[in-house]
């Protein structure tokens, strides 16, 4: 059983009426991975998550979690997974401790086990002091951290998070990131997360799948994805060059430089890697007594990768308009 993947899907298809939310998705997620599912709104991320978490039935295709079939063995699957849904699903009328305790009982945990685990989790998410307050009094970030804790009450093998930092302020987002990193490093949990924040995927995920229009377009590490895109970092330098010195020829021969151009005192250099390329460029220009007044570097980001694969930026809003016409019931199922 050692080679059983944490998640494996085979040509998953999900239709809502005429809309095909998933058009044959195949993914494989190894144990211990931190996997990011990256895509714009309406790409099918939430639909995929809901099928994997037994909340929706696939129209066709199959999926297994740790070798258990998500439809035929849904009861086993539910014990294996901890899920942080997109919306806040904790009971606002209950305290944090009550939320965690009742949830633990849903999994059939005995009292002693629950109490230990809950004390531990409350400490981990930094809500010990507020644990007896109603969740209604919590901030968005606190609620999200509580959701993460609740997903871990029954010690799942796989943690699934649907847009865990959506709508959070930068500080709260950072706290959630730190929590997730700790879970990954200290407990070697397998984590699947959906996001449409590039920086989130870059900061957390060891593997990233790009999903768009219900299809997986690319799967690789963040670095691997970047390499697959034939674009390079850009360095822009505002210069004051002495007469007779051509900055373009000066830098063009340097190692790693792919291209260079000068326009109105602004030298634009395309390099393999700006971090390694810059010192060499500085050195060469200084030797020719070129004065550097201003430097700006542009890194290749996952956003560039996304545009490369899908032809549009990740936060494209076109899908919103589509869901407007579908009617009230559908978007919820369709999700983001």
């Amino acid at each position: 059983m050692e080679d059983v993947a944490a998640i494996e899907t085979r040509s998953l298809v999900k239709r809502f009426g005429n809309i095909e939310a998933l058009k044959g998705v195949d993914i494989r997620l190894e144990r211990g991975e931190f996997f990011g599912l990256l895509g714009p709104n309406g790409a099918g991320k939430t639909t995929l998550i809901r099928i994997l978490t037994t909340l929706l039935m696939p129209t066709s295709g199959e999926a297994w979690l740790y070798g258990y079939h998500v439809v035929k063995e849904c009861a086993r699957v539910r014990h294996l997974i901890g899920v942080v849904p997109q919306a806040t699903t904790c009971d606002l009328d209950l305290t944090a401790r009550e939320n965690l305790d009742i949830y633990g009982r849903f999994y059939g945990l005995a009292k002693k086990e629950r109490t230990e685990q809950i004390d531990y989790l409350l400490k981990m998410i930094g809500l010990e002091e507020r644990s007896e307050d109603l969740v209604a009094t919590y901030s968005g970030g606190m609620r999200r951290r509580l959701e993460v804790a609740r997903a871990l009450v029954h010690r799942p093998s796989l943690l699934i998070l649907d847009e865990p930092t959506l709508g959070l302020d930068p500080q709260s987002r950072y706290m959630v990131w730190r929590l997730l990193k700790r879970l990954k490093d200290d407990y070697s949990l397998t984590i699947l997360l959906t996001t449409h924040y590039m920086e989130e995927a870059e900061a957390l995920c060891s593997q990233v799948a790009i999903i768009d229009h219900g299809k997986i377009i690319a799967v690789d590490t963040v670095e691997g994805l970047k390499k697959s895109v034939h674009e390079r970092d850009k360095v822009e330098l505002r210069l004051e060059a002495p007469a007779g010195v051509d900055p373009v020829t000066t830098v063009r021969t340097l190692e790693g430089v792919k291209d260079a151009g000068l326009k109105e005192g602004l030298l634009t250099v395309t390099v393999e890697n700006s971090q390694r390329g810059l010192p060499a460029i500085f050195e060469a220009l200084r030797k020719k007594d070129v004065k550097i007044q201003e430097v700006r570097t542009t890194h290749l980001t996952l956003e560039d990768v996304f545009i490369h694969y899908t032809g549009r930026p990740v936060r494209d809003e076109e899908t919103r308009k589509v869901s407007f016409f579908i009617g009230a019931g559908v978007p919820r199922k369709w999700g983001r």
């Binding site: 978490t53 997974i81 919306a87 009328d93 949830y103 999994y107």
Partner: protein, 373 residues
Amino acid sequence: MRRLIAIIERDLRKFLRNPLVMVVSIVMPIIYLLILGNSFLGELKHLPVAIIDRDGGSFAERVIENLEAIERGPSTIATYRVSSEGEAMRGLKEGLFKAVVIIPQGFSKHLVKRGSAEVGLFVDNTDVVSANTLKTALLSALGSTAEGFIAVRERAEGVRVRTIEVHPKIDYDQTLIPGVVIMAIFLGALTTGVFNIVMDRFLGTDESLLLTPLTRTDIVGGLVISGLVITTVLALVVLVLSSLISGIYLWNTLSPSGFVGVVFIVMLSTLSLQGLLFIILGRADHPRVVGVLGGFLNVILFFPSGAVYPVESFPYLLRLFAWVNPETYSVHALKAVLFKGAGLGAIKGDILFLSVFALFTIAVAIATFKREL
């Protein structure tokens, strides 16, 4: 079992955090009592009346003819010839008859000799509306019997009707108490149980329930049981308060077995309504649906239940509806226990119907509950 109890506890805790809901659930049925108690009027029809003729004379025949004339004409009453008094009185207690007319032996003879005679009239006064109508109708029938006679004998007293009220005197407000309790049960059932699933769905919190290993039975059963606890308490509080308002001191009038009967009927009625509402509203995802359908269901279940208007006076189709309406049985049983001092034996038919109804609807509710999003 641990999971089911967790669902119940979650629901009860959430309920107790909103004391306003509790207050409203108690106050509203009592306002109904005050408003309905003073405003409801209507023409009655087909009130069943048992007739026992111990006389067999010509004047007795004439009394019966007059009663049958009312039956054929304005149809206020439906007459039934009954041979034994025991049978008639049992029928009255069980709600089969609204009144019993007994024409005593020697009625015709007395009328001829003394110019006056007495007819025994037993009225089910737990149903004040029909009791009053019955008295008026029967008096007119008996009065005209005398007129026919007076013309010959020139005597003025005529036939005196002695009304014997079978049960302790009950005011109009008091007869509405079973209806008020049923209203409280309906409101309780509507704002617990299935409503919580609709709210969870509306707020999106159902997702977290469905992600866990909870079964359909855990979810539906847990919500029904917590709703049962809440509603039973509310309904009993409403019963005590509305009785006090109408001047009944239940601790004096209700026997221990009667109290058990009331609690039993309240619980079974709650379960029946919970099950019914779960089937109807089980897939709703907006509280507004509950509001609209709830208001509608409240009216169509409440008015044909016999709480304010006797079931016997309904047109045929409505009577059929009343026959399958759980509230009809609840009202009947509550009236029997609260006002007629009936024990569990007299309401076993109601208990049987409500038990079967509750079991069936809850089973269907569990089977049709959608375990996915």
